[in-house]
Amino acid sequence: MANIISSKIADFIVRFPPFDSLKTDEISSLSEEAEVLYFKKGESVFKHKEKARPFIYFLKEGQVLLRETVDAQKKLIDICDEGELFGVRAMLTGNPYVFEAFCQEESLVYAFPLSVFKPIVESNNNVSLFFASGLASGQKPTGLNTLYRQSDPDKVSDFLSWQKPLEELSEPLLLVKSNTTIKSAALEMTAKASNGIVVTNEEGKAVGIVTDTDFRAKVAGGTFSIEDPVSTIMSTNLIAKQLGLPLAEYLISMLKHNIKHLLITKEEEVVGVFSQQTLFSHLQFNPFSILYNIESAENVEKLCFHRNNVDHFLRYYLEQNIKTAVISQLITTINDALIKKAIQFSLAALDEEKYYRPDVPFAWISLGSEGREEQLLRTDQDNALIFGNVNAAQLNYTREYFIQLARRVNGILFQAGFAYCPANMMARNPDWCLSISEWKNRFEGWIHSPEKEALLLSTIFFDYRYIYGEEELVQMLNSFLKNEVQSHKIFLNFLAKNATKNPAPLSFFKNFVVERSGVHKEEFDLKARALMPLTDIARVLCLEAGNVTIKNTVERYRFLAEQDKSRKELYLQAAQAYEFLMHFRASEGIRNNDSGRFILIKQISKFDRQVLRNSFEPINELQQMIELRFQLNYFS
């Protein structure tokens, strides 16, 4: 019978999950059968190895620590706060308690008999999911929020140091009189490895500035002779700024006056020149400076050095919960710049080595996650090369040249931290360094006979994206792919089948589908179980819709949402889920210093588990949808 006590308990518990999704009569029967337990500070609700009691516990007031005894040491597993359930594992398994529930403060605990609770868990989907997601206490409290506490605060804040004052100039001040010849000014600059020189008049007052650009534009262009006085090529648009201002101020000045160099003064004296390039090097962890530095890197070493700074801002951006789409855009832009630069260096190296450059256009393409613009962490390289059609006689040499080119590019990318693809899906592989006709033949072969291998290759290669060279080659491939798929729709059924081979991880009681064997035992394969199904489904649906140009998974779902209004909600959910999963993977990867692919379930916080689980939901729905749409039940 309901009474004042049980109705108060009901009122209280209904505010917390999973009780908030229970029916009123379920709440009543639970609260009427509840026991109210009081524990003094230092007492235990249950102890390690004690036989499981037929109750599930809810902390009403106080604080309970779940602890494990490892080598006689108490190890904290989780802190249970007010409104949380504990004793879940023993409830689910009936095994003795794995942890001790220790009252850190005096605590009031509601104990609900399993005889009432279990039938509710089993009959109410929401409650089942609650436990499947592992939201109840008993797991280690880690995850996005605690993750970054250990990170070095200096490093994290450093790259956003626009407010950092400019304390000294790295380059010595070079002064020349205005009647000095251009030639001797240039020699002086080269000798001192300076990129700016201040020109003074008879009184020693600064009247102008000469930089590399001036030599290039005005002298090398033939406008002036190297014997002319330096004053003829100097810029007179002089802006002076004091030493010691925040870096941001110098940048604003440069932008406002559209100049790349500032005169730096100290107590009215000119002490040097501050260039935009130097400014950016002070802001080495800023994505735009990294991009700038990569684009202006003069050798491979510098290129790699600047690419390494990406991880610093990636960590910070993830921590700040900046949208994954924004972060991956930045990373993609930077990676693309890196690849372009690597190609330019390699082309120059081949020229230097006197390789004859075939007179045929080529295009460098990125594949897989890089093609989809979904790289956050550095992963293996996946790339290929397309060159224009040449006659049979030239084919061998042409291929050889581009393989030489690709070898160098792949090598530079390797130096920059992008591991070689273990399956050798790289442009240096003769299989993936093909003429446009050969590419078409390849694609045709996969589409016409979709064997297992062909399907695997399709999922990687059909996400190609133009990076460098002649874009028209890529456009030709686009229209070919589109026509082929449209005229061989059966291929999509195979591709769809492939997209459903990893079922969404929803199974209850096992929490997640964890890998059962191998080095990743007890871990969850985030890539295979969650990210890949979403990517694969997006691809097959976009190909079906005749869109071969969008490669990004989130963009693909957005496109699909526009196309098919009746499933808009589902597609947008999928897009959101994908973004979260990407973010989660990158955070895990940074934390564990790996690819983030395998997640140790025990280490995920309750919150993350819940969100993770939510993001699995659209996978399940999409897979069911795909099965119906492509009639996969009748298809093998």
């Binding site: 004042i4 006590i5 108060k8 009427e32 059968e33 026991e35 109210v36 009081y38 524990f39």
Partner: protein, 206 residues
């Protein structure tokens, strides 16, 4: 309710509940390890004239209060509404509570408490009132259980800490103690609500 008058030669006319109550309270019977924390609501603080309106009780065993074993009983006064008593109005207003004749309520209460130790706040009043009703309805019957008064318990606890402490009665009202022990009062001035709050207080103090 069964009446087995013929079975009990010594104390005839007592219903079974009372004979059972006497039986379990006989010396030598294994004492119940649980406590019954109870509270009464009445129309006044004067035992001799107060009208018993309701009894609420919970069982405390070890550190646990089981909601399956609670006792709540509203007593039919025969003149509900006439006196304009707030409590009666409240009880009636909810409409749910079925009222019982006082005899029935007392017997059920005795059955509930058995030989458990009784706990109440300012127990003198509650025990006294129940005893008055018992003797009016079942002459010769009174509560024989050991009684703990949470107000006294609080005073003793304080004296243990500081022997020279000056006891101010207002510091030992139920409200004051609930506040001191940071117990969120369930619903004051309902017998069961107060019994529950008193039980928590007792658990924290014992």
């Amino acid at each position: 309710m069964k009446f087995n008058f013929w079975r009990n030669s010594k104390k005839t006319n007592y219903p079974e509940e009372i004979t059972n109550y006497f039986a379990v309270n006989k010396p030598g019977v294994e004492a119940d390890t649980s406590y019954v924390v109870f509270d009464t609501e009445s129309s006044s603080l004067t035992i001799s004239s107060a009208q018993l309106l309701s009894i609420g009780a919970v069982k405390v065993k070890d550190n646990s209060i089981a909601l399956r074993e609670t006792f709540e009983c509203f007593i039919h006064t025969g003149k509900s509404g006439v006196k304009g008593n707030v409590h009666i109005h409240e009880i009636m207003a909810t409409g749910k509570e079925e009222k019982k004749e006082v005899k029935e309520a007392l017997l059920e209460f005795l059955d509930f408490i058995g030989n458990a130790v009784l706990v109440a706040h300012h127990a003198k009043h509650d025990v006294g009132l129940i005893n008055r009703y018992l003797s009016e309805n079942f002459p010769g019957v009174r509560l024989v259980n050991q009684v703990i008064d949470t107000a006294n318990l609080a005073i003793e606890n304080d004296r243990k800490k500081d022997t020279s402490i000056k006891i101010e009665p207002e510091n030992y009202s139920l409200d004051a103690l609930l506040k001191r022990y940071s117990i969120e009062a369930l619903e004051r001035h309902t017998a069961l609500g107060d019994a529950f709050s008193t039980a928590l207080l007792f658990l924290k103090m014992k």
